[in-house]
Symmetry: C2
Subunit: 193 residues, 2 copies
DNA sequence: AACGAAACCTACCGGTCTACAGGTAACGGG
DNA sequence: CCCGTTACCTGTAGACCGGTAGGTTTCGTT
């Protein structure tokens, strides 16, 4: 362990937390949030359930960490999103079923009453819709080739991405997620640029 | 109870089962399948948890009953689906959040490993995609105005319906589900009929 | 070398969950 | 009127759950 001695406690603690969050992502993908037990997450990082609670005092605290990690993940630094980057994103997602499964499961759960991720997803989708509207406006201007505005098209764009994910997760052989997404983009009309 | 005396045991049993399934739909909408306890469903129909198990011997059996009820529900008798009927369906759904919430929650859970509804949804989506392709073909012929085939458009249609449901459930005020769906249909091109 | 904090652990509590076992009361057909 | 079936009930097993209490070891700092 050449780096071990150089690490201070602070860094090691952060790494442990990141490890736990990663394990939590996996377990949530497999069993959902309600079905994910702290013990199962702990076991995956070689801890007891109580040892895990030392890092995250409650189950909800762990979920919060999972959600904020995701926020950092898909916040593309500086660069503005473009439509062709969305295609790349979908292609990238199609190679990482785990992450998609985690957040598809969480999204499904979040519509139930009192779910701890509900507020997160509500706010997130509001932001994402705004973001997508801006992307579309940058690409097409105030009016899409088919006559719709970016604001009215954005929810459709988001819906297609999410909906395709469910179909693809359930039956990857039958659904070409990136291909279908490109099909949707052609539906929006020819890029004027 | 004028009809009470005319009812035989068979009919009364069927009614009780239907009552239970209805209650299960509600509880699943509120807490998801994993979060829905037999006791909560039982209480809603005035039974003990063990009394409920008399009608459905396991929790999975109850889920199966819920899923088959849904199949009967959206099997439109005889009449072939048409695109304008889809709009009506979405409008109708927008007035019944409960049902949407139940099956959105179930869909989300179903992508997790070993979920008892996974097979159901996989098969269901295969059928629905076929169905939608047929609807599109009846409406537009072998090629949509934008050049896509019905088979390639069907997954998009399904994805939009599902994806919009999640956005709408999370924030009904911000998302006009039927309006957005109509927007999507205009994206498909003008109806040649 | 001493000390205080961080990083775990064991033990345990109260609750909830599905399911099984077995009992009883009502009921309807012969 | 009897008798088998249906429709429940109580009791309980067995398992997991999140969380608390409190201990002990490890380790960096002084």
């Amino acid at each position: 362990m050449p780096y071990g001695e150089l690490m201070n406690a602070r860094v090691r603690s952060e790494e442990r937390r990141a490890e736990i969050v990663r394990a939590a992502l996996e377990v949530i993908a497999e069993r959902g949030y309600r079905g994910a037990s702290l013990a199962a997450v702990a076991e995956r990082v070689g801890l007891t359930q109580q040892g895990l609670l030392h890092y995250f005092p409650t189950k909800d605290a762990l979920l919060v960490a999972v959600l904020t990690e995701r926020d950092q993940w898909d916040a593309v630094p500086d660069t503005q999103w473009r439509v062709d980057l969305l295609v790349s994103l979908v292609e990238y997602n199609a190679m990482r079923p785990g992450i998609i499964q985690t957040f598809s499961a969480l999204l499904g759960e979040s519509v139930t009453e009192g779910h701890p991720a509900r507020g997160y997803f509500t706010e997130r989708y509001a932001k994402v819709r705004e973001n997508m509207a801006a992307v579309l406006r940058a690409e097409y201007g105030d009016q899409l080739p088919n006559g719709l505005t970016p604001e009215r098209t954005a929810p459709l764009l988001v819906a297609v991405m999410d909906g395709l994910q469910y179909q693809w997760l359930l039956d990857p052989e039958s659904v070409d997620m990136p291909g279908a997404f490109r099909d949707f983009l052609t539906l929006l009309g020819e890029n004027p640029h």
